[in-house]
């Protein structure tokens, strides 16, 4: 038991200690869940679910596609907003502030409803998948904009002075001095943001986008097998978010350097 206690952060932990610890955690979790399910007196019906495996897979793939598209679009929005936020043209700067604060101050669900039923209707976008990606991107873009902005602002003034002194133009300064450093800083929060987008995309089920969650809900409606429908849902999301968060940690280590 004593060997399982680690005192110093950052020091490598013995492999055996790690394996034993993880086994303990797995055992405990399994025990907890078996107990919970045994109390339920639930009649499992996996056969019905298996027939709908195609629907799960399609929903899962749709979630991957929507999330990836939203990540790319939100990066563009976030970058433009961060630059607008630093613009010397005040109306542009205030527009960026208004956008960021509005998005961050309202629930995603509300944004989805308003964008779908009000804005998209008004400007005539029919495709709910497009609306879904746009909404998710606008949502994540506001958070990304703040991350990018604080990244830019964390660059010391002395570096901007050096950049001017060696004769870099403003755009060269962004390109060769600011962005390379911001990108490195941004990788960990960015991968976290990607995991958020994946999870948040489940809210698009409310406007009938056939993604993972909606498809699981439908399977549940067809089969009346609630747990069998929703457990694969949880596993499916974990399959996406776990690698993302592991990758985040690896990248963080890789790009770590002292300033």
């Amino acid at each position: 038991m004593k060997r399982l206690v680690t005192h110093t952060d950052g020091q490598p932990v013995a492999v055996a200690a790690r394996v034993v610890s993880w086994l303990l955690v797995a055992l405990l979790t399994a025990a907890l869940f078996s107990f919970a399910f045994s109390q339920l007196q639930y009649g499992w019906n996996w056969d019905a679910i298996w027939q709908y495996r195609q629907k799960f897979l399609q929903g899962w793939l749709m979630t991957v596609i929507i999330s990836a598209a939203a990540l790319v679009v939100s990066l563009v929005i976030g970058l433009l907003t961060a630059l607008a936020r630093r613009s010397s043209f005040l109306p542009l700067r205030y527009l960026a502030v208004l956008y960021v604060e509005t998005i961050r101050g309202t629930p995603l669900l509300v944004q989805i409803l308003i964008l779908f039923y009000v804005v998209a209707n008004a400007i005539g976008i029919e495709n709910r998948y497009v609306v879904g990606v746009i909404t998710l991107s606008l949502f994540a873009g506001a958070y990304l904009a703040e991350m990018i902005r604080s990244g830019i602002e964390s660059i010391r003034d002395s570096q901007l002075e050096s950049a001017r002194a060696i004769g870099l133009t403003r755009s060269q300064t962004y390109r060769y001095v600011i962005f390379p450093q911001v990108v490195r800083q941004l990788i960990p929060p960015l991968t976290g943001q990607f995991a958020s987008i994946i999870k948040d995309s489940s809210l698009l089920s409310i406007i009938a986008v056939s993604e993972f969650t909606l498809n699981a809900q439908e399977v549940n409606a067809f089969t009346y097998s609630t747990l069998e429908s929703y457990l694969p849902l949880a596993v499916g999301y974990l399959l996406l978010t776990l690698p993302v968060s592991l990758m985040s940690r690896a990248l963080e280590r890789k790009f770590h350097y002292a300033t």
Partner: protein, 243 residues
Amino acid sequence: MRLEFCGLGKQFGEQQALRDVTLTIPEFQSLAIIGPSGGGKTTLLRIIAGLEIQEKGYLCINGQRLEVDEEALLAHRRTIGTVFQAYNLFPHLTALENVVLPLVKVHGFSEREARDTAGALFARFQLAGHAHRRPAELSGGQQQRVAIVRAIAIKPRFLLFDEPTSALDPEMTAEVLDFIAELRGEGRDLIIVTHNMGFAREVSDHCLFIAAGEVQEAGQSSDLFRKPHNPLLVNFLAKVLRY
């Protein structure tokens, strides 16, 4: 080189950093600027560097008036080498890349020419072993020497130093001052703001004493340090030379 200030004035909010500086400095190779903190030394140096724009007056360098539109200033900055107190280097680039960046992006060198040029300078100034380290892995003195190498790599018209050793311990101070003295020995023109009176006296042929936003005294270093006239300068020298 020659310098001429004509009614130079610069204000930061309420603070008058430079007031009506008018002065002609005859031919010099190395100019030291000394004076108490907050006196306006950095402001004057930054105006010469094209990093700050005066509100009033103008200056001439070698008889040529310095225009103050951004385009002219950018062109001006590209012809001189400026080294600040500290944090001159970009932390995400290695020492060598720090020197290569302006050569390639500003001065039109190919990547290879730039690396060769930088590599030769690193070798010449005993920095070869540090070329591939990031600034955080270098001592403060090494960082400043790399910054100086970056400044001279572009073959500048002259060099500007703003208290290049004020953030260093005595040993590293000596290493950086030796480097600057060596550059002066090679005949490079330079202007240095320094708190190190011994160095100013030894290395500069001309000296300005600036306090309260004005040039209180100017002259040949040999005279100025031996026979200071202005009571502020007498006082200042007495204070800094006491220990």
